[in-house]
């Protein structure tokens, strides 16, 4: 198996970079969110013929993140999950559960200081 490596990109470049990958027929595998102190790291993973490509963006809590749903329609579940668990917000989601995908009320349980 290949070694894990990723590329850190700017928030503004995200959509253009992902669009390029889509044209090369990459498949969206996952978006993984990690809280590192006050910031959040989002790791986007793409796959083409069983080789992986990772992009990483680092955002603060209040910055709206552009949604991938205009490029990959199926990203709405992954993004809604992050919205639920970490309280981040995504702009222009095609199906927005407003933080109620998993919990009946808005309550980001995965935040580190929130027990």
């Amino acid at each position: 198996m290949e070694k894990f490596s990723y590329k850190i990109i700017n928030l503004q470049d995200l959509l253009t970079q992902v669009k390029e990958l889509r044209e090369k027929k990459y498949r969206l595998v996952s978006i993984s969110c990690t809280q590192v102190e006050e910031k959040f790291e989002l790791l986007y993973t793409f796959d083409l013929n069983l080789s992986l490509k990772h992009l990483k963006i680092i955002v603060a809590k209040d910055t709206p993140i552009p949604s991938l749903t205009c490029i990959y329609e199926g990203a709405f579940l992954l993004e809604n999950e992050i919205q639920d668990q970490f309280g981040l917000s995504f702009a222009k989601l095609n199906i927005d559960y407003k933080g109620q995908l998993f919990y009946p009320e808005k309550n980001p349980l995965f935040l580190k200081n929130n027990k």
């Binding site: 198996m1 894990f4 990723y6 027929k25 498949r27 969206l28 595998v29 996952s30 993984s32 969110c33 990690t34 809280q35 790791l43 993973t45 013929n49 069983l50 992986l52 990772h54 990959y72 329609e73 199926g74 990203a75 709405f76 579940l77 992954l78 668990q85 199906i95 109620q100 995908l101 998993f102 919990y103 009946p104 349980l109 995965f110 580190k112």
Partner: protein, 358 residues
Amino acid sequence: MPKTIIPFGPQHPVLPEPLHFSLTVEDEIVQEAIPGFGYVHRGLEKLCEIKDIHKMIQVVERVCGICSKIHALCYCEGIEQMMGVEVPPRAKYLRTIWSELHRMHSHLLWLGLFADSFGFESLFYHFWRIREKILDINEKTAGNRIIVSVNILGGVKRDLSTEDQKWILAELKEIENKLEEVKDTLFKDYTISKRTKGKGILSAEEALYLGAVGPVLRASGVAQDCRQLQYAAFSELDFEPVIAQEGDSFARMQVRYFELFQSIDLIRQALSKIPEGPISVKVKGYPEGENVFRVEQPRGEVFYYFKANGSKFLDRLRIRTPTFANVPALAKMLTGIELADVPVVILSIDPCISCTER
């Protein structure tokens, strides 16, 4: 005809698990399907902050009871890769054998439930009777019927004796015969082809674009199987991904049925090549850094992301399970079909809700 919204689930006779769909229906034809979740959500990824890396094996085994062994395999191989632990070859083979047994029991379970969804009760019972043989193998060799708990970091807990290996081969022969017996029924029966052919079609282009994985992707004609990544002992075994071209519910059944024979073949190959030697090595220290790992589950590719900080607790464990990836494709398949076909199409992706929500 006005549009009507029909709630499907969470408590529905055909679904063993709570899954909710809001179906917008116009004149018996589904126009839009919006999934709803949260009835099984536990938040177990967060447990990695209070349970150490060894105890987390038991937690990830309980992400899903059906493919528990393969979750543990993915977790262990991922952590071992991070720490640079070399697992003894015998342990690799044993992991492969148990994971293929799990794939078989999961596929048989699904074939039964699928038969139940279109009302073929006797076929449902037939498949579940065959499945008991695999559970007996699990119980005898690993000590539990479903959650076998054999994996540890650095190897496996239990060994297979020569008598057990012989017994497994004999049982496999019997299972193979029983499966051959129903081949005609599955592919030639009028009811089955009427209920499944042409229902829930997904093209290869759409499947890739919506991120479908596993048998759903392979039934659309894309030959992608994560076992080709050669984790565990798969590098030394021969196999070709099973594919079908039509992309409908029938094709998905076909892929899963032939994967059963593939698994039988893989177990036979593994049992004939299994080397002697120790079954585990001692793991010292704790992992540091980031890693991703993926393996092929019965339902498709599972993706693990680890972030560790050198202490005995992981910083973050993220699990992207196969059904989670298949749900957008399912929502797409449901549009444009008749309301009466909804249960069949939902079951055709083999939904595992406890995986999806974790």
